[in-house]
Subunit: 152 residues, 2 copies
DNA sequence: AGCAATTAAATTGCATACAATCTAATTTTA
DNA sequence: TAAAATTAGATTGTATGCAATTTAATTGCT
């Protein structure tokens, strides 16, 4: 009987870390949506732009799709069409690497660089609106980083 | 200069709680995939089954798509096709409510109920394989539940 | 009763995710 | 060096998510 109840408890939705992650991720993404709409970006597109803006200050070995995928934990099946859309938007260029024709070299256009100014207020604004203390967010972020390191 | 650096820091990918949630959610879902494949379920389908199994013990007012959506924070645009697939798999029935023809009454088939036995070991197994202490998972889950309550 | 407002699902359209496969370029190795 | 193995992206196919719209049924209101 005890066994059954324990098993029962393990299957309860509210006891599942995975569901909380899944629900929180979608909820937070949804909170971003209105802000990102003013930038003309979806959430995954915004993440890609964050990385490309970072790369301006700290250039990676190769600004390739592979490097981007390693940073965001996404594969070319997701990134290729997404990057094509950013290219269509005039934010990103997708050239071929000279030293290796297989490789794409990703680069920001002037417009892509400019957009950073508008994006700068997004995290700040959401942080405030959420009403969650900054230190709580920071702590949670660190705990999730640890979890991610273990799971991946 | 300080202003610029702070803004810079706020845009750093690793400083974004949202990215950690997004990455962790996908990573954990990926960890579930092989186990769920043996059940013939995707991860969202598994979540729906969790709710329906729960409803066997604690029936809701109405076992409707709406009630399911409130539990999982998903809308009919996602749930309708997903439920049709579960119906095709022979796990779920989608009848019409007698008292209100707009409403779908969701019910488990015999096979749907049986599947619970096989599913029972999934959370346990993953908990062990992850190597993350159970109490750490529990704490994180609670913190995320609080965050979810604030954001939603 | 009769019609407007509301509501539950379904549908449509677009953008991810991701496994699996394919293609082309580069490396390795016999 | 020439074929085999590897690698970077692209493509294909399936299943979400979700906003926006549509459809059908029910409620409210006069």
């Amino acid at each position: 009987m005890k066994q059954v109840d324990e098993q029962e408890a393990l299957l309860q939705l509210d006891n599942q870390l995975c569901f909380m992650l899944y629900a929180c991720s979608r909820a937070v993404t949804k909170a971003y949506r209105p802000k990102l709409e003013t930038l003309g970006l979806t959430y995954p597109q915004y993440l890609v732009m964050l990385v490309l803006w970072e790369w301006q200050r700290q250039p990676p070995e190769q600004a390739s799709v592979k490097a981007l995928g390693e940073r965001l934990l996404l594969d070319s099946g997701t990134l290729t069409p997404l990057l094509k859309r950013l290219e269509q938007l005039g934010l990103v260029e997708r050239r071929r690497a000279v030293h290796d024709e297989r490789e794409r070299v990703l680069a920001l256009t002037e417009a892509g660089m400019q957009l950073k100014q508008q994006a700068a207020s997004v995290p700040q604004t959401l942080l405030c609106e959420s009403g969650v203390p900054a230190e709580e967010i920071s702590r949670l972020r660190q705990e999730l980083a640890q979890l991610l390191a273990r799971v991946c």
